[in-house]
Amino acid sequence: MAIINHPLIALGIGILHGCAIGSCASAPPQSSGFPPVPPQPRYCKTPIDPIVRHFSPPVKPKYFFKPVGNQNEIAFVGEAPGTQEDQNFLLNTITGQITPIPGRLDPIGLFNTDLLSVPIDDDNGGTKMSFYDLRQLRAKGLATPPLYQSDESLMGRYQSLGTLRCVKNRVRFRIITDGNEGGNFRDFEVNFDAFPAKLRPLHPTRLLCSNLRDPKTHFMNHKLPMLSKNGQQVAFYDLAARLMKVYQIHPQTGNCTLLATPFPSRGDIGKFDFSPDSSQAAFHYSDRNLDLNVQTFGRPAVQWQLRSAVFDFKKQAYQLLPFFGKGANTYYPAFLDQQHILTLQLTDDQLEFIEVDLSRLPYFAKTQIENLVHLTNEEFAPFQALSDRFTEQCYLDTLRSTRANRILGLLALDETQCLELAHDSSRSHPELFEVYASTCKKLQRKN
């Protein structure tokens, strides 16, 4: 477990109660612990290491986790030491303190507040959606009673929460859950002036996206619901269209309207995590099958990997998250704040969390990536040669082995840098310069 100096340590963890939307203190840039890059050619654009920190949790986590509280904590299901039974945990990623907390599934927080929701098994084989005050959980752990338990109308499964209104320490929020009827929502108000906080429902549970339901079965062929942090949008995987879609939720009726700019990718992508301002979504994807293509991220018949990316709805561009080592899979990237993402990486049987600073990552327009997708093998050969030279000259050993990391770096070059690289790459074969220069132009073509 990495213990990192951080100004929030001085302030203490647990100072956050209610309304802190948008005020989450972000971690300052820190070294990832890897050796510095030796002197490099000018085309080696720095910084190339967007990883702020990485750490292994003291218990073995499952894949799904969420940042909670002041976002320096994470909640997740892990294997209880000794028993290997599933158990929810709260981990302070700054101090390393880990606390067992109630439940064995999906502890999900309300962004930047001290509220946690957990599905708790009931005596009838079902689950009840239960809400907890993190201030109590930090002190009492498993002995913490819930602030509130919903009745069966709010299915205890696949919940996500968003803040509708925030005035001082009173937060009005929405929770959505998946369930028999394809999704419900309910709004609550939580008052953090009291200790423990007081929580009350504002209305009975309602159907989410009634207008999208099958008129005969009343089921909705949309799965993997995820609410945006402002509670106004919801992302679903549409079974029939085989697409991830984003809808606007009507504030009163809960009806859903497809946004004009839905997520454009056809690829095999997982559950979204929306950025705090809802302008971006983070997700993992199978690199064998995405508009971010096999040529860039792997060859056909080579083992699949799960990678992570962020899509910016306004820019219509991706930021592709880094990873370590061959064979690594990354899961469930989640926003800590507008600029920082935490993701879980699995390499062989080793699990660790990786924090990435998005401001250090280039954007790749969707169209720019599509240009690469359509390169023929012949066209791709000089691209590969440039990539090899670039990697040799510019990359750390730890990053060198991964094809994806190389290509990402190459895409980030401007034309001047790329031409310098082309010149360098063709020293022993000057006749290849024109081919490489032409490849540089293709790389820069964004439309």
Partner: protein
């Protein structure tokens, strides 16, 4: 812990990993073999890393049994624990390209020896699953 050892019943062939498969990998070869042998069936993809995977197994098994559908359960990766247990790991490009890794559990349905295009990600309640299977196969 996910176990893909589902007990056999007289009526249904529940399979962990087909015995003839080399290296416990369920590749396109094994998929084609499965599809050619089974007119209708279910393929469930689970993961040790996702707790709902384990909970989904009895729900899917129960309904497979009700409909007399063969069911095969595949794991998401080859870790030390999976190797030790002899899990059958999904390595089929066709399944992966159709969303086998999007979420765990995920369920594929086979009809007329063909994979249906609508892979269902996430755990389903018995009612939800029944509705999906009725949509795929009709009432039984």
């Amino acid at each position: 812990m996910v176990s893909n050892k589902v007990e056999s019943t007289a009526a249904i062939t529940f399979l962990a990993c087909f015995v003839p498969f080399a290296g416990n990998s369920f590749t396109d070869t094994e998929l084609m073999q499965w599809l050619s042998q089974k007119e209708k069936s279910l393929i469930l993809i689970v993961s040790d890393g996702m707790p709902y995977s384990q909970k989904s197994i009895p729900i899917v098994s129960q309904q497979a049994q009700e409909r007399n559908l063969p069911l095969i359960i595949l794991s998401d990766r080859t870790g030390a624990e999976q190797k030790k247990r002899g899990d059958c790991v999904v390595s089929s490009n066709v399944l992966i390209e159709n969303g086998a890794l999007r979420h765990f559990p995920s369920l594929f349905a086979v009809k007329d020896h063909q994979l249906l295009p609508e892979v269902i990600p996430g755990i389903q309640t018995p009612q939800e699953l029944r509705a999906h299977l009725t949509e795929f196969y009709g009432d039984h």
